[in-house]
Symmetry: C2
Subunit: 399 residues, 2 copies
């Protein structure tokens, strides 16, 4: 009575079956099999979590803090989140608006399960992290992708086009600023325009400001413009965030959701049926990251800016390669003239140059002729990787 693979696949939902793999994951899975590749496909640095953040978690685990915990997160961490935001934004925040999640992705999943149902739409500017569209499709919802424009060496989001994509089924507009993958960063004026449009139409803002602190302004800013500068705590704004990027904690899978306090019970219920909470002992490490991690974070951002400049200088002379110097996040998203199959190019680069990028088309409309690389890496390793890529391009690119 064993079934064939085809029979089994025919028995799951079309959405789960037909969803393509993330091109990032596919590049990584291929690259893992080839020795000596320098991986720049994923959005993480090359240094592990500092011991100052890891030790309190390890100690809490060994102390036996191993029971079920608050579905919203431990009070101590929610208070530390409020204090971190007070420092970063120079205004008051209450712990009541913070909810701990098992990673930034789980914060997005919680938002989608809360505000949007089957057949509903969420509008997403692209190129965008592919997980947005995948989440919606797997849940039977519809991502409405609005491509940004790359012209005159700059990425821009046409707000009229964004707003025109809204239909009666639209529940939210997702804004990721600074953006993964292109580094586009909304100005305060753009954020105000989006806020006002969403207010007028009763739409949710799904704000992904994960890279808010990785912003390379010219005025000594320590963060990008944010919806938190211009919105009320109690309106239709939901922010997904994570400890992963700021404090080198990608493998911890802890994030947070910022939401109107009236949604507390609904968020708790959704957390209960998704993960039933986030390990309390891990949250102790997150408290340490917030309370004692400001200097570490500032150093990471400084380093990211230097690595961005290194990357830009090493790639800007290459024939056929075009990009905008990213204003934020820690990726370079660049097009290669004449490249028609980014996934094939990614595989060739892994095999022939031993350097690992992510294919641009996995980020949706607007990313077709491009590749993405994460430059938040050890400097020597990054230089080596960029050198390998440059030599490969000079040898192989027929422009």
């Amino acid at each position: 009575m064993a079934m064939t693979a085809e029979q089994i696949l025919a028995a799951i939902t079309p959405a789960a079956r037909d969803e393509p793999d993330s091109g990032i994951v596919r590049a990584a899975m291929y690259g893992f099999t080839v020795p000596g590749v320098i991986p720049l496909w994923a959005g993480e640095g090359s240094t592990p979590t500092p011991e100052a953040f890891a030790r309190p978690a390890a100690e809490a685990l060994l102390r036996g803090e191993t029971f079920y915990t608050w579905q919203r997160g431990i009070p101590e961490l929610r208070e530390a989140l409020a204090a971190y935001h007070r420092r970063s934004f120079g205004r008051g925040f209450s712990h009541e608006n913070f909810f701990v999640t098992s990673g930034g992705m789980q914060a997005i999943q919680t938002i989608v399960q809360m505000v949007s149902g089957a057949g509903d739409e969420i509008v997403i500017p692209t190129p965008a992290w592919p997980n947005y569209a995948a989440t919606l499709r797997i849940l039977g919802q519809r991502p409405v992708e609005v491509p940004m424009q790359f012209a005159n060496g700059r990425w821009t989001l046409d707000l009229d086009r964004l707003f025109d994509a809204v239909t009666p089924r639209t529940r939210a507009i997702a804004i990721n600023s600074p953006s993964n993958p292109v580094g586009w960063t909304a100005s305060r004026e753009e954020l105000v325009a989006i806020r006002d449009f969403c207010r007028r139409h009763g739409l949710w803002i799904l704000a992904d400001e994960v890279y808010c602190r990785f912003f390379y302004g010219d005025q000594g800013e320590t963060r990008a413009p944010s919806f938190l500068d211009i919105c009320e705590d109690e309106e239709q704004l939901l922010l997904a965030n994570t400890f992963s990027k700021n404090w080198a904690m990608t493998g911890w899978r802890v994030g947070w959701l910022q939401a109107p306090r009236a949604l507390g019970p609904a968020i708790e219920r959704i957390i209960q049926v998704n993960t039933s909470g986030t390990p309390a002992f891990l949250q102790k490490g997150c408290v340490a990251a917030l309370d004692h991690g400001d200097e570490y974070l500032a150093g990471q951002v400084r380093m990211a800016r230097e690595l961005r400049d290194l990357t830009v200088s090493m790639l800007s002379g290459l024939p056929g390669v075009r990009f905008e110097v990213p204003k934020g996040a820690f990726y370079l998203f660049f097009s290669i003239e004449g490249m028609t199959d980014p996934a094939a190019t990614v595989r060739r680069l892994i095999d022939e140059a031993k350097v690992g990028f992510a294919p641009g088309d996995t980020f949706g409309p607007g990313g077709e002729g491009s590749l993405r690389m994460c430059y938040l890496k050890d400097r020597a390793q990054l230089e080596e990787a960029l050198g390998r890529f440059s030599r490969w391009m000079v040898t192989n690119h027929r422009a």
Copy 2:
């Protein structure tokens, strides 16, 4: 422009807004505010994770294993899962059928997202863990609850009634055996009948065998009958499981999903958009639990049986209290004659007797006049709690 709570709640989906809180969570949240209460509401023991399982995780964390990891789980843990199943079931298992999830609940969530869509139905015998129905409702799906019968001091599941509940929209039958909350345990013959029905109708079996090892048979059995005894690895069987109960790891939030290998890519994609994987360093502790935890688990089951017997002997004389001696899991589910509002009784017991139960009606049809308690607790504390409850019943129950 701040919105009222009512306005904000009106803007989320009706399913997310109107879902009731879990009665278990509500009891716990109320009980946490009353000093001196002995909590028996949740499904966890009172001892923390043994150091032998915690230390390898703490060490991996401090060693810097803090990066993104395999979406299916680390190869070492999937291999350890296959070996554990070989020992438990006396037949071959492949690591290819195991997928690590962020808790047993996330395994269920993954299954539901994979096999069932909006408007689809999953049939669930009740009383059942309330998270099943809640998950489905929040995702816009429909739980079809089929009450078990309590008659002549026994819980039974009428298979004809179960099968009659299947409609063209049904995607799966969920079977939790041994069951939380009543301890009902399917016989091998019942499992075969369910398997054959599902095979004939192309339905998925969603098997929750989390309490498989907590089985109190008369023949020296070390586990309950299982779908793994009678099914192929490659058919429409999906099992959700967890490290929580067997190895005292509730707060770790690590579980696993057992599935046909053809579903690997679909499961990886769903994991990616839900949690993006489970911390690799925690998985090292789970490997230790599997490889070195057999004796600990056997001790836990022995203790659970003794505590069950203690509970049964202390409650069996109480007027108006009725239950079946549970065959498995570690709960006692008992009705109280004349009780019409279990949540109110739970609150009174917390306030007046300082003992914390969960209200039976939260487990769905069939649980209305009952309470649930977890007896896997420190023996002296359990005796004290049962003594408090007995005295309260003698004083307060008008039967």
